[in-house]
């Protein structure tokens, strides 16, 4: 427990990435290295043979305690393009319901000699907890924990931003919607801050903006018009149906009327603003189809870049483990 407070669990003693649990606490240099590596992996998807042998002989287990299609598919593809063997486990439907504890599930998977766990869990802190539990040669990648962090999503978002806007240090970025329940928003805020974005705003009704979010270095806006005024990047968050049931919002209809991104509203943003969304989108709830499918939307590019970014992260953590344990080929470079 004492070790918990000392240093960053994600890094080894040399400062190399060993797990990828969250953006908070990472350096600009390290984030830039992830982005640079992702740039080198991006062309792999355009090749006839979409594979590099970096993770050959390694076993990656996708542990999804919460349903997910998109994130799991892109992690799956990323691991396969790195030539790893992939095990997809939908734990929500199996062990957890049979009363097996999280720790026992992990012990069993370790016994199957996996090298990497990609974890999604509905409880904040789950990825960190798992990283503390597993044997030291296993790397853990956070595929989303509760409302806490979704670091690969944030990295693919900043990757997209860098490709389209080149630099971060002059940008105005607005994150719109259900910030309170969003792990994507938290990871994005950390990533944008670390990369030097000077103006980060969160936009939404008071019920969806958590208290003291200003402490994370953002400004708070309760109207969309004000929040996206002059923004270079507008990130729309997905609105879950549950928010209406828990009395945080009256209806999807009213939400769209006040916070839905429509073409006329988008005009308030910078003329060359890009529109992003972590997906899956709710057309007519947080975003109008004309915007989602419009020229300023980069939503599908995000999905494509997601694979390269996840390849970069997976290869980096495995390289660290190989250098430490000497049980595989090192080097995160593609060619």
């Amino acid at each position: 427990m004492a070790a918990m407070r000392a240093g960053n669990l994600q890094l080894d003693s040399q400062g190399r990435l060993k797990h990828f649990l969250g953006i908070e606490g990472l350096s600009r240099d390290l984030l830039t290295r992830i982005l640079d590596n992702a740039e080198r992996f991006a062309p792999v998807g355009d090749r006839a043979v979409k594979k590099v042998p970096l993770l050959r002989g390694k076993t990656v287990a996708n542990l999804f305690f919460e349903p997910s299609t998109r994130t799991r598919t892109t992690f799956d593809l990323a691991a396969k393009r790195l030539s790893a063997d992939v095990l997809n486990l939908n734990i929500e439907a199996s062990s957890a319901k049979k009363g097996e504890s999280l720790t026992d599930t992990l012990r069993n998977l370790e016994a199957m000699q996996c090298d990497m766990f990609v974890v999604r869990h509905q409880t904040s802190g789950a990825a960190e907890f798992i990283a503390r539990q597993v044997a030291p040669h296993i790397s853990v990648i956070n595929g989303g924990d509760g409302r806490h962090e979704h670091p690969t999503q944030a990295m693919l978002d900043v990757f997209t931003i860098r490709r389209l806007k080149q630099r971060f240090t002059h940008l105005k970025v607005a994150i719109v919607g259900d910030v309170a329940h969003s792990r994507v928003a938290r990871s994005e805020i950390h990533a944008l801050r670390i990369l030097g974005v000077p103006d980060i705003r969160v936009v939404g009704p008071k019920t969806l903006i958590p208290p003291r979010i200003e402490d994370m270095g953002v400004s708070v806006h309760h109207t969309l018009e004000q929040g996206i005024a002059g923004a270079d990047v507008v990130i729309m968050l997905r609105l879950q149906q549950e928010r209406m049931q828990s009395a945080l919002l009256p209806s999807a209809h009213e939400y769209f009327r006040e916070y839905g991104l429509t073409p006329p509203r988008l005009k308030r943003a910078a003329r060359d603003a890009i529109v992003m969304h972590p997906g899956p989108i709710n057309r007519g709830v947080e975003i109008d189809s004309a915007v989602a499918d419009g020229v300023q939307s980069v939503i599908l590019q995000q999905v494509t870049y997601g694979i390269a970014v996840r390849m970069a992260v997976m290869s980096m953590v495995m390289t660290t483990q190989s250098l430490t344990y000497g049980n595989g080929q090192g080097g995160a470079d593609v060619d």
Binding site: G125, A126, E128, R147, H148, P210, P211
Partner: protein, 429 residues
């Protein structure tokens, strides 16, 4: 058995004195401090020079886990741990299995306590059957079985009419009620103080409003029913202010805080450390300051341990999925002394809050060194340094954030009813 504790510093929070004086004990009571009474013959003389002799500590809410949760702790293990740490009385909470809502369970606990060597065990009975907040318990029977108070713990009674009736009935049965103020709906989904840390971590929060609204509901009904009420584990600055106002208005209530809330803030849970998962949650620095001042000024009557031993599995999960609570008995004394050393309040105040006030609100004559008081005493070396390794903790619960920490101040001798129930030789190593 007659005992002379020789050469120690006698600390009496009732008299407000700290004097180098011998303490003489006979027939379970203190018979003199200073000079031996005429004709006194000590069958046992114990040299306690360099140590402080003080009335024993009290925990107003100890989870002893027996019956029902013996994998976490037992009455024997915790009564012994308590004595080792300088506690002479523990109030056993009713959240056992079965729940302490009948005299039979109280009798079982008293029986197990009589077999254990260590601190006294006093029972807190359930205020409602099964702690479910619906049906009143047989409070007269619980009182006859020796329960010192009734409580629903932090299992808030949602139906305010039931709460009102429960308090009125407790008032007519002559039992005090221990209240843990919290508004159910605001606290329901949270596991951490709602603030900057919960927002950063994405952990559902419990707003201060939960405690404040709960407290005002409780205070209103206490005033209306005239029940003798003790407010447990207050955590917010606003609650302390409300208690001061209520007392000033003439309401006969007492209040306590637990030591963890005097030492820590929500920021300590900022790395998902489940050992800082408490109920009520750790709040902010401004709250902690108000709690400390409350103790210093006496508006907070008692500091308590709120001991909650757990098995390892209870804490082996992501933060919100862990069971709340800290195993606090073993480290209570050095941590209390650390607050004195840091100037939060003086030793007299600390002892008034951790021993005298809780004795008084339980209707006990202890908490003092005056002649005739029960010889429930602890003797501690304020300078002794020790490491809180797993083998040094006597509680069966190792869920402590201080595990492995070097602490200053250690209990070396404990007497209950004039009998030695713990000496340094009783330590494992």
């Amino acid at each position: 058995m007659s005992i002379r504790l020789k050469g120690g510093l006698a600390l009496d929070p009732a008299a407000g004195t700290q004097t180098r004086a011998d303490v003489f004990i006979e027939h379970g009571k203190i018979v003199a401090v200073g000079r031996a009474p005429s004709g006194f013959k000590a069958r046992r003389e114990i040299d306690v020079s360099g140590c402080v002799v003080a009335p024993g500590l009290v925990d107003l809410g100890s989870r002893l886990r027996e019956p029902g949760y013996e994998h976490k702790a037992s009455i024997a293990s915790e009564a012994h741990a308590a004595a080792g740490a300088g506690f002479t009385t523990l109030c056993a909470t009713p959240d056992t299995q079965p729940i302490l809502d009948t005299p039979a369970v109280a009798e079982q606990i008293h029986h197990l306590a009589s077999l254990a060597r260590g601190a006294r065990i006093r029972c807190l009975g359930a205020l409602t059957v099964g702690l479910a907040g619906e049906v009143l318990t047989e409070m007269h029977a619980l009182k006859a079985a020796g329960c010192v108070a009734v409580t629903n713990l932090e299992r808030t009674i949602k139906d305010t009419a039931v709460l009102k009736h429960a308090l009125a009935y407790a008032a007519s049965s002559g039992l005090a009620v221990f209240l843990h103020p919290e508004e159910y709906w605001l606290a329901r989904q949270g596991s951490m103080h709602e603030g900057a840390t919960s927002t950063r971590l994405g952990v559902p929060g419990i707003p201060r409003a939960a405690e404040i609204i709960g407290l005002h509901r409780d205070l209103t009904l206490v005033a209306e029913t005239g029940v003798r009420a003790h407010l447990c584990r207050l955590s917010t600055a606003e609650a302390i202010k409300s208690v001061v106002d209520a007392k000033r208005a003439g309401l006969a209530v007492t209040a306590d805080v637990d030591l963890m809330h005097l030492l820590h803030t929500d920021a300590d849970a900022g790395q998902f450390d489940a050992n800082f998962h408490l109920r009520p949650p750790l709040r902010e620095r401004s709250d902690r300051t108000a709690l400390r001042q409350g103790v210093k000024r006496g508006s907070v009557d008692a500091i308590t341990a709120n001991h909650e031993p757990h098995d390892a599995d209870a804490k082996a999960a992501p933060f919100a999925l862990t069971e709340p609570g800290v195993s606090t008995l073993d480290t209570f004394l050095p941590k209390l002394l650390s607050l004195v050393a840091a100037g939060a309040f003086d030793l007299q105040t600390a002892w008034r809050a951790a021993s005298l006030a809780p004795h008084r609100l339980l209707g006990s004559q202890g908490g003092t060194l005056s002649v005739g008081a029960p010889a429930d005493l602890c003797v501690f070396d304020p300078e002794q340094e020790w490491t809180a390794g797993p083998e040094a903790l006597l509680s069966k619960g190792l869920n402590s954030p201080y595990l492995g920490e070097c602490l200053k101040g250690r209990n070396i001798l404990t007497l209950v009813d004039g009998q030695v129930v713990f000496t340094a030789k009783d330590r494992k190593a």
